[in-house]
Amino acid sequence: MWARAVKLGLRSWVGWRRGFTSKVDPQRSGRVTAEVIEHMERLALVDFGSQEAVARLEKAIAFADRLRAVDTDGVEPMESVLEDRCLYLRSDNVVEGNCAEELLQNAHRVVEEYFVAPPGNISLPKQDEQEPFSHI
């Protein structure tokens, strides 16, 4: 389930980055290097638990790459599937809020109506410190 979500998310990300420096060299067989995996895990906190997941990612990228075969010269890129819709403008009135108690119920720890978080970002451990994933 999460793999599909990752694929969809990554496809939009990959599609967006198509015009810029791609970390996947199209000349090569579309392999995604361990360095890229580590970088993405750190940025997006997704867990590529196995080599199979990486393979699936590579297939997804190859699938999206097929878009390059289409000649898009002179065609304006689409912003989103909503681009023809009207952006609704809300009038500046206060209609929400005042539900601190409800929101704080979701929190693991609470101190006097504040959410509690660790003192800073906890970085993902470096790759050599991580559990090496099972190679299939």
Partner: protein
């Protein structure tokens, strides 16, 4: 080295290392060599005087500093940018937070019309081109005060681009020596604010308050056209005045409504730009200038000692007066920008392109907004100069001090005295007293009516100048008394009775027979005045 003081002169775009011998009062002797060289290559604009050059430096190292600013101004609106929760400064923690602000699943952003209008107004006031189509993007990074894990901003196509901001800096010791500079505005974009983190070091935790999360911000990006702290501070001050005049933001730095990040680098003129550092956590105009100047000095010092500048983020420690690297930033951030999938493009119209029969609530007409722009500070100053004949630097002072313009205008309304007199009294005496006791205009014990009355007395020559000052001092100390009361209590009225005056003079002259003819003539002249 202890006896030597390093002094930096900001000459437009040039930074020159100059040393004066702190111990000697005649340090200018060594300036001759450099000053003459300075005059040769100089522009016609009056520049800050150079002091001296330390002889042990090899050659002259001319450094140019390049300063760019990113200014975040909180939009003055009732509700947040994408949700209907309230925008308010002080409120119980997490009480002004909607489900969307807390990033609960199933919530969607809904754009606030007022925020768009505020952005358009600001863009027009800063001479920008308003993009009729602008787009929203997601900027991803992890931090506890950003519950969604991304911030909705406008990176690809912001709402306004390519503007300019004119500001004024002093270029000499005299207040009249001011020069107008312009800084280009790269873009203005709408974005969300994050929540607030309160760091609790002893308990190793951070407390998060999301009241501020989702509040609309205008990010104004200034191109690196500035070269020192003073220029940056003046530009920010002018932007503050503009935002306040427009009503788009209260731009109060102390309350966090205006936050400035500076990008600073140094290089030798003619060579490519150096590595830049970003200085964050600048929340007062005073610290802004100090931090930028310190960072410029630090970079020059590092480079002159053969070290390299790291492209890092630093914060300013106002107690120590220096910038320090920020802990949490690890290398270059990859924000993974992507289009915001839940928001279609923002379309703006002008009178020509307005679709017929459109719901006025759902469309924004740029021309309509342009016609209704309030008067900008530049225009207000012009009017003051024309209407009251005051000098440009006076108009700057009147606008720069919070509440002073209103005070001045109230005095003008109630007094018959000449505007120049009023200007002089307000800017010299009144402001002087305020500054001495570190008071704001709204804390002044003297009301505009009181000053107006005092100036009326002075105008019809009921009291003398020096008496007026005495009365003013009295007014400052004792509340509730009117100038007329003080004048009669202290018997400060000028004697109007000609005969009585003559009698006084005669008495004086008789009491001093040794005073010659000259003295008598002067006494009679005095009584006739």
């Amino acid at each position: 080295m202890a006896a030597l003081m390093l002094r930096w002169s900001c000459l437009g775009k040039r930074w020159v290392l100059a040393c004066i011998d702190g111990g000697s009062r005649h340090g200018r002797g060594a300036a001759i060599g450099l000053t003459s060289r300075r005059k040769r290559g100089q522009s016609s604009v009056a520049q800050q005087p150079l002091i001296a050059v330390q002889k042990s430096r090899k050659g002259e190292h001319e450094w140019a500093a390049v300063v760019g600013l990113e200014i975040h101004a909180q939009i003055s609106s009732n509700s947040k940018l994408f949700s209907g929760s309230q925008v308010h400064f002080a409120a119980p923690p997490n009480s002004l937070v909607s489900f969307f602000d807390a990033s609960l699943p199933g919530t969607l952003p809904v754009l606030n019309r007022r925020c768009v209008e505020a952005a358009v107004m600001t863009g027009l006031a800063l001479n920008c081109r308003i993009n009729k189509k602008s787009l929203f993007d997601r900027k991803h990074y992890f931090y506890a005060d950003l519950p969604a894990g991304y911030q909705i901003t406008q990176q690809r196509l912001p709402i306004a681009v390519n503007g300019s901001l004119a500001y004024s800096v002093s270029v000499g010791k005299k207040p009249s020596q001011v020069s107008t500079r312009t800084v280009r505005i790269k873009q203005i974009q709408l974005e969300q604010d994050s929540g607030k983190s309160l760091h609790d070091e002893p308990r190793s935790q951070t407390l998060i308050d999301l009241n501020r999360a989702g509040v609309g911000l205008l990010e104004v990006v200034l191109e690196p056209d500035m070269s020192c702290g003073e220029e940056a501070a003046s530009a920010v001050r002018e932007l503050q005045l503009i935002l306040q005049a427009l009503g788009t933001s209260q731009a109060n730095m102390a309350e966090g409504q205006l936050r400035v990040d500076a990008n600073i680098s140094v290089h030798h003129p003619g060579e490519p730009l150096g590595v830049r550092t970003e200085v964050k956590n600048l929340n007062s105009a005073r610290f802004l200038a100090k931090a930028i100047d310190f960072e410029i000095k630090r970079q020059i010092h590092e480079l002159e000692n053969g070290r390299k500048i790291l492209n890092e983020t630093r914060s300013f420690d106002d107690k120590l007066g220096c910038t320090m690297p920020m802990r949490d930033k690890e290398g270059k951030q990859d924000y993974r920008f992507m289009p915001e999938p839940n928001l279609p493009p923002l379309l703006l119209y002008d009178t020509a392109s307005l679709p017929p029969g459109a719901d006025p609530q759902q469309v924004i007409n740029i021309d309509w907004i342009r016609e209704r722009l309030p008067e900008l500070p530049g225009k207000t100053r012009e009017k003051l100069i024309q209407q009251y004949g005051m000098l440009p630097e006076h108009s700057f002072t009147l606008l720069n001090e919070v509440g002073l313009l209103e005070f001045f205008q109230n005095v003008i309304k109630e007094t018959r005295a000449e505007p120049k007199k009023v200007t002089s009294w307000v800017l010299n005496i009144f402001l002087g007293f305020l500054k001495q006791q570190n008071l704001a205009v709204n804390e002044s014990p003297v009301t505009p009516s009181a000053l107006a009355e005092l100036l009326n007395l002075l105008d019809r020559k009921a009291i003398s100048s020096s008496a007026a000052r005495q009365v003013f001092e009295e007014l400052w100390q004792s509340k509730g008394k009117t100038p007329s009361q003080i004048v009669s209590e202290k018997k400060l009225e000028l004697m109007q009775d000609q005969e009585a005056l003559e009698r006084v003079c005669h008495t004086v002259m008789e009491g001093h027979p040794q005073v010659g003819v000259e003295g008598r003539r002067k006494a009679m002249h005095f009584s006739a005045c």
